[in-house]
Symmetry: C2
Subunit: 358 residues, 2 copies
């Protein structure tokens, strides 16, 4: 910068003005400075700028896996919004590891990101408090953050989010104690998908097509979304007057999903339909050769090309990313209102597999 100033015969501040498009520079002077910049290949040092100005114009994005189709679409939407706001995106994969998540977040904070969008894998985000106090905004996406995060002065309290399916019961079922599902004090902005409502719709769809024994094959019960979807499943059974049977429910990692379903099917009185808790599990079940009636949570590419097409409850990952990012930037531009909890709707897409008769 000094070199440029010298070459153009002006003071530092004038170069600064030109670089930042500040008013109060004669076109002629500006031209001279621009020429010097061009000739010397000068690029402003963003670190110095940040140091001086205090804001980095960048946000941190922590997701489970950058390579997961769901989260990569989510990330792209965040990037889009960030671009519109002149912000860059620092991103990292937590790999479902709370420690790694924490490390990543603190690293981002060291880099003084203006805000964070977090798909939390941990359930305790107490360590965020100093950062939030220091003015970093944070939005939890896809899953609520753990207890102990309370920015913006206003405490949120224990709000058992009602979900949008009719008549949700707020308590989580016995034998499926999902931490953070109900009664968790979530007080950062949170953008979720209507997991319970979506599962409710999917399972009801199967029931409407004549099934009375519907299996639930979901992910580990410790994951928030899994618990919510299980809730929706129970609610649908209940409303149809069908009994909830432990033997028709499996929760565990996707790798075990195929085997779990096989076990159910080979037992006495097997299910005639399956509801799967996410796309990884849907694919695992299909790969294991199961071809009975099926509705899966999460849309996935080529679901329409399989035979029969796979009926799914589609989330909107791009919408989730967009909403989260827009909320974050609203906070960054000064909105100090009470933390919000937004729940995005799901959409049932019938493609054949969910309309098979028992």
């Amino acid at each position: 910068m000094k070199d440029v100033a010298e070459a153009a015969g002006v003071a530092l501040k004038t170069v600064s003005r030109v670089v930042n498009d500040e008013p109060g520079v004669t076109p002629a002077t500006a031209e001279r400075v621009s020429a010097a910049i061009e000739r010397l290949g000068y690029r402003p040092n963003e670190s110095a700028r940040v140091l001086r100005r205090g804001s980095t114009s960048s946000i941190g994005l922590v997701i489970e896996d950058v390579a997961d189709p769901f989260y990569s679409v989510f990330g792209r939407a965040v990037e889009e919004v960030a671009l519109r706001h002149g912000s860059l995106v620092l991103s990292g994969s937590s790999g479902e590891d709370p420690l790694r998540e924490r490390e990543l977040i603190l690293t981002f904070c060291s880099r003084r990101v203006d805000g964070l969008i977090i798909v939390p894998s941990g359930t305790d985000h107490d360590y965020l408090r100093p950062e939030l106090d220091a003015g970093i905004a944070a939005v939890f996406a896809d899953r609520p953050g753990g207890p102990g995060t309370a920015p913006y002065g206003t405490a949120y309290g224990t709000t058992p989010g009602p979900g949008s399916a009719p008549g949700h019961d707020p308590g989580s079922g016995p034998g499926h104690d999902v931490p953070g599902v109900s009664g968790g004090a979530v007080s950062c902005d949170t953008v979720l998908c209507d997991n319970a409502g979506g599962a409710y719709a999917g399972v009801s769809h199967l029931i409407r097509h004549g099934h009375r024994r519907v299996a639930f094959v979901g992910d580990r019960a410790s994951i928030f979304t899994s618990g919510e979807r299980l809730r929706g499943y129970r609610r649908a059974l209940e409303e149809a007057g069908l009994p909830f049977e432990e033997s028709l429910v499996s929760t565990g990692p996707a790798e075990e999903a195929g085997a779990a379903l096989t076990r159910m099917l080979s037992g006495g009185d097997p299910p005639t339909a399956v509801f799967t808790g996410n796309s990884r599990i849907t694919v695992a079940v299909l790969r294991a050769g199961h071809r009975q009636a099926l509705v899966g949570f999460d849309d996935f590419e080529l679901a329409d090309l399989l035979v029969p097409g796979v009926t799914v409850v589609a989330q909107d990952p791009a919408g989730l990313g967009r909403t989260s990012a827009e909320l974050l930037f609203r906070r960054l531009s000064g909105d100090r209102g009470a933390p919000e909890r937004i729940e995005l709707p799901t959409r049932l897409i019938p493609r054949g597999s969910g309309e098979l008769p028992p």
Copy 2:
């Protein structure tokens, strides 16, 4: 930091020493400092650090679309390597727009990334020269960079990369003038996939299964990889003594692929097999209802679950990312050798569609 120093009753430098694990601090003093850090929630300001030290411990990643499965896996691999090297990843999507690409790269450079990994969509990267001169390392991945980028002193010259399939002809065919394919001066490190060799293998596979009229449905000829794959196709035909027919070749965006193939099939003497130039096109062709013999470039999820399974020439996006990142970090740690051009092999995965008889 000043507060911490005061609270612990030491000088700034001592805090700095503790934060950076530098030797020469009594355990007792260190303990006092750590306690103050914890109590005050102090986080070092990375911008100031960068400003002082000069290195940002971050790299920039420019890809076409963060949400594309191929590139998101690629990006994840880059992230993995960066993590091992204590580096963060700034990433952005160019959306195949050279202007956006350039803007993104310059933004990253302003942020003083230590290095860049670029999947170039533009063909001219002259604007990178000042950055490269300033010591930023760059690796082109998936496609070579345009002319006019010559770091590390050693010029690379015009090297018509031979590819690994036997007997490639170096000239690109008449009527398919692909810029940068042959004779392009590429002098940054470059990591590519063996596009020509892979296409050669895929088309030869179809020919071996009795097909004598194989269509090529590829992406726009202006894209480097498309051109290379077309080269491999020609080579395979040539070697089998089959004529190259313009009417069996289509190059254009994926949205038009289905219609293009339909046209070919409804003409006189239609093809009995198709080779598709990338997974987007493969899917487009399948979605258009085509079910003849097919080999596609690029593997994709669920290719094995379709009926018949889709035979593909698989690339290794994670390997591409890993190799690129490792090369970059080798440069960052001081390797000034001549620019490298690495070509990763492909793998043919037979699944049924490529083994159908004419």
